[in-house]
Amino acid sequence: MDTPTLRELARPVRAADPPDELLVEAARAGDRSSWTALYRRFAGLVHGVLLAHAPRREVEDLAQDVFLRAFSYLGGLRDASAFGAWIATLARNRARDFHRSARPTVPLPDHLPADDAGDEEAVRVLALVRTLPEAYRETLVLRLVEGMTGPEIAEVTGLSPGSVRVNLHRGTRLLREKLGVEKTDA
């Protein structure tokens, strides 16, 4: 089978959003615009997963590292349509590696120093999110920090929409309890 030319693969990413597997195949062939599109599509997922597990100040560097590894190991991804679940796993593993290899020093607490009062509040709430069970933690970060909808979270993570909806519902309820917020709906 003929390999598509880079020109064929390098057409600008359309608003119609090509499926992940096409972007992965094109990126494997060296097409930069497809890699850019993958980065753009999954930057929030990687950032969110890392934010759920690793110190906030490390997340930018760790995210770059995750994409670096993804770029490097892309050839080994068997199911191109599972790119989201795969890179989320890379992000979780990278966060675990970070904690394993962290030198025995006293870590800077995330809530010190914040850039302004708004950031301080954000970091305080994030710290509470991190005390939730892992499944709720990641889903809530993706919804509330990264701004994804439930269907989008299901799409990029490979989780079923039902699981995401349950995680959002239960996670938000637990978070409200921790924040001492009474649910105001009827």
Binding site: D2, R32, W35, G118, A122, V125, P151, T184, D185
Partner: protein, 339 residues
Amino acid sequence: MRDDYLWDKSGEPDPDVERLERTLGRLRAEREPSFDAAPAVVAMPAARRRRPAMWIAGWAAAAVLVIIVGAGVRRWLSPAATGPAWSVARLEGRAPAVDRLHAGQWLETGGGDRARVSVSTVGEMELEPGTRIRLLRTAPGEQRFSLAYGTVHAVIWAPPGLFRVDTPSATATDLGCTYTLTVDRSGAGLLRVTSGWVAFAHGGRESFVPAGAQCHTHAGAGPGTPFYEDAPPGLRQAVEAFDEDPTRRGTALATIAAEARVRDAPTLWHLIGRTSGAERAGMVDALAERVPAPSAAVREGALAGDRAALDRWWNELGLGDADWWRMWESRVPPRDRVP
């Protein structure tokens, strides 16, 4: 229930969820290019007219480098920035002699040792056993190593054109890629590109090596002719014969012209610039059979060895516009430019 808003942002907004969105949204990842860094990086040669496709290539390149490198690139492109030292880590065998590599320092792996050097905003290189490298320069806009001998596997994250590896016989300039570079103690080398592009150049001779291709280099002769690793064996042997044995040039070129596939057009394109007279005419004919010249003028220009004409023909090969490389070449210090 107002879970619809929590689920897909439809329905009546839940005030608590909205408040959480506002608070936590401050920590959101940056997903869009921050183009304030782009002009410094993608400045085009002023005299060039750019076709729409070139705009696309330019902005795609800008988006890649700005998105991937992100805030880090802004830091090292700022005038006050200083280049980072490279972290050194053991992969196998003995621990490296240093854990940070600064400009001017050498790093050598023993017979059973493997090591990795990395900078988060640039990329990383893995050193195979028996490799000796030196960090020549680490500065805003330039990361440069010298590979004396051995093998390195590079995965480069930095903007194209900013990461280079000198070997005794050619300089590999990253154009956003992963590749393996091997140099033996005679100075001869082999470049194999896994993804993206590498420009391999020395003394006015340049080779563009795309993903899936490889290129030999020889001490005193510079980079050889690139060819795809899946090329017919006869073509591969003929390319090596052309590069290494002047007495077999004629036979080698005839074999290449006969065996080249459409996919091997880049090999033919390179050979036009490395031949003259009847040999060049033969390569022009061979390339035209696989990928017709866009115009008679381009064909005539190629026969005369005109670079602009060759660049226009290159644009027909389906491998991206030559302007893309020229754009990055414009950022290379003059001493390293191909005239």
